[in-house]
């Protein structure tokens, strides 16, 4: 099975509300979606998210990487030997291996890893190959639980807005809330939300690296009395030993997020005993296969896992996340699937938004389990780029000789 063509959609879907955290304000989704078409006509969709402050990628550099580095490799590859039904993990490994790894870039805009780019292509290939065989991702990654329970995330606006959002989520029956905190009154913010939602709801905080080590230690100590279950990335991406030092003094378990992009990061964090939780995000981690590898490392080191998401992910990454969250042996918190709670319109025919209590059922359809609405992609695309194999090269390839 070979892939004949691909199309990149650079989306700009407005949010119905802005989402703010300590390092960024976002009012639209800028996800990158790729549609691949196989020689048998099967179509698959993937999605990746470029975040300069996480992987170092931008939308422009990610699109360029997909078009110039990953697409030629995909166009050359023959996926016929991959048997999705016989050995799922080996199949996922083979798909991931077909994508070349490029080291970090140089200069001030250094890219830590081209993981958003890898994720968009990997998901599209998985979706396409599964659809070609009439299989669901759930058959490759069997579910360990009958449903997935999502958390709400409270944006870092005013305390008044944050409390209002907390009340929305309480009304929706959510049992887990993550609060974005920064340098402005973090303790008052958490106190006000705890007061609004009561003692039953699990709270955790995410600072997106807003503090230095001394401030972080002080804030986490002050948050202790509010029953905070975990503190995500209190300090910026740094040497794991710095995070480990903070962890020793913190009364709240530490979760690594921006510090955890690559497998090497995961091993270094474990080695330094730098955290209690890994926050895995499919796009940040470079796709499903690498996310599963990191989850396995976490489990072997006794760390707990959150399957997180990037703000503005559409139904494509949400669907992939649903499958992975259902499949993992242990997952403490799950984020994402906000769909039209955040986006003016989502890309799938069926809603991926969770229901009351944050509970969402499993997806059982072919591929990732959703039907992507091409008209929505076109409606919100800022840029559409077609990638094809040059005709002579395609002819040669079909004769068995690859010139791509």
């Amino acid at each position: 099975m070979r892939i004949d063509r691909a199309t990149i959609f650079c989306l700009r879907i407005p949010f119905v509300e802005a989402f703010r955290h300590s390092t960024s304000v976002r009012s639209f989704s800028d996800s990158i979606v790729v549609r691949v078409t196989a020689e048998d006509g099967a179509v698959g969709y993937g999605e990746g998210v470029a975040r300069r402050y996480v992987t170092g990628e931008t939308v422009e550099s990610t699109v360029s990487h997909v078009a110039n580095q990953l697409w030629p490799a995909v166009a050359r590859a023959d996926f016929s030997a991959i048997s999705l039904s016989h050995d799922p993990l080996s199949a996922l490994s083979s798909i991931s291996a077909a994508l070349p790894d490029h080291g970090p870039g140089d200069g001030p805009d250094r890219v830590i890893a081209w993981h958003g780019a890898r994720a968009v292509i990997e998901l599209a290939l998985i979706d396409c190959l599964l659809r070609s065989e009439g299989l669901s991702l759930g058959q490759l990654l069997p579910a360990k639980r009958p449903s997935v329970t999502y958390s709400g995330v409270i944006t870092a606006g005013s305390i008044q807005d944050a409390v209002k959002h907390a009340r929305y989520f309480k009304l929706f029956g959510l049992k887990y809330l993550k609060i974005k905190i920064g340098t402005a009154n973090p303790v008052q913010r958490v106190a006000a939300i705890r007061n609004a939602v009561g003692p039953e709801i699990s709270l955790r905080v995410d600072a997106n690296g807003a503090y230095d080590t001394v401030t972080a230690a002080r804030v986490l100590s002050a948050l202790r009395e509010f029953g905070v279950g975990a503190a995500e990335q209190p300090i910026g991406r740094c040497h794991p030993n710095e995070l480990a030092q903070l962890r020793v003094s913190s009364p709240i378990p530490i979760m690594a997020d921006e510090s955890l992009v690559t497998l090497a990061d995961a091993r270094a964090l474990i080695h330094a005993r730098a955290c209690d939780h890994f926050n895995l995000r499919i796009s940040k981690c470079g796709g499903i296969f690498r996310t599963l590898q990191m989850a396995r490392l976490a489990a072997s080191a006794g760390l707990r896992v959150q399957l997180g998401s990037h703000v503005g992910e559409t139904a494509i990454l949400a669907a992939a996340g649903r499958h992975v969250a259902a499949h993992l042996d242990q997952v403490e918190f799950v984020e994402g699937s906000y769909g039209t709670l955040l986006l003016a319109e989502d890309v799938s025919r069926e809603s991926v938004v969770f229901g009351h209590g944050g509970v969402a059922s499993l997806l059982r359809g072919p591929g990732l389990g959703i039907k992507v609405r091409e008209e929505v992609l076109r409606n919100y695309a800022q840029n559409i780029i077609s990638l094809q194999i040059a005709r002579p090269a395609l002819a040669e390839r079909r004769k068995g000789k690859c010139l791509c």
């Binding site: 509300e17 209002k164 929305y168 009304l171 003016a344 229901g355 009351h356």
Partner: protein, 236 residues
């Protein structure tokens, strides 16, 4: 602020934002091609062809004091009242007058049905029908409130710029008349619903804000997403 005035101020804000939107003003100006009017007519039909089913749902949840008026509203939509005019027929007459052939009208019905299907299959964020019913009631009565005020103006602009006759536009003139009454009854129904189901003020306000965080009129009639109140998004 009482529930009635809170809700009415939300309806007024929604209506004002709709009436002053660029897309609506462009329809009024006549400076857009016929296909823009036709797209509006299609979306209007898709929105309102399901009204009897939606009203039946609301009737099933209705507090006893307002059940009769909701039932009458539903029967009116079905053409089973004393006037005997099925509103779905008025919508399809409008569509046919705008040039929608039999196949296109069938497609409108299919799309409308698909919307109902989606409503029934999408996960519900609220724990009970009590909250979900309030969201539906608020949206339905907002449309009635708006149509009571803008129905005639919309009919007039379609007559002037799309060349539709008075008979073709009966749905608007009819709504402009009966929705005066429905709008008042709708407000009564919301107040009674809030009291009957014992909503506290905080939850009622939260649900109202959730329903009207976007402009429901622009969303349904023009597929435009526009937040309805100043938010972080608009202050960027």
């Amino acid at each position: 602020m009482s529930i009635r005035s809170l809700v009415e101020s939300e309806y007024a804000a929604q209506t004002e934002a709709f009436a002053s939107s660029e897309i609506f003003k462009s329809l009024r100006s006549g400076n857009v091609p016929a296909k823009v009017y036709d797209e509006f007519i299609a979306r209007l039909c898709r929105t309102h062809l399901n009204s009897p089913q939606i009203l039946a749902f609301l009737y099933s949840l209705a507090p006893p004091r307002v059940a009769e008026s909701l039932k009458h509203n539903m029967l009116e939509e079905l053409g089973l009242d004393e006037a005997g005019i099925a509103h779905s027929e008025l919508l399809l007459r409008l569509a046919r007058a705008a040039g929608f052939d039999q196949r296109a009208c069938a497609e409108l019905k299919t799309q409308s049905q698909a919307e109902l299907h989606r409503l029934c299959t999408d996960p519900i964020l609220f724990g009970t029908f009590r909250e979900f019913g309030l969201t539906v009631l608020l949206e339905v009565t907002c449309f009635e409130w708006t149509l009571a005020r803008l129905g005639k103006a919309i009919g007039d602009l379609l007559a002037e710029h799309r060349g539709l006759s008075w008979e073709d536009l009966l749905w608007f003139t009819h709504h402009a008349e009966v929705d005066q009454r429905h709008a008042e009854e709708g407000l009564d129904a919301v107040v009674e619903y809030a009291n009957y189901y014992e909503f506290d003020e905080t939850d009622f306000r939260l649900i109202t804000e959730i329903v009207f965080r976007e402009n429901v009129l622009l969303k349904r009639y023009f597929a435009k997403s526009e937040v309805s109140r100043p938010t972080l998004m608009l202050s960027l």
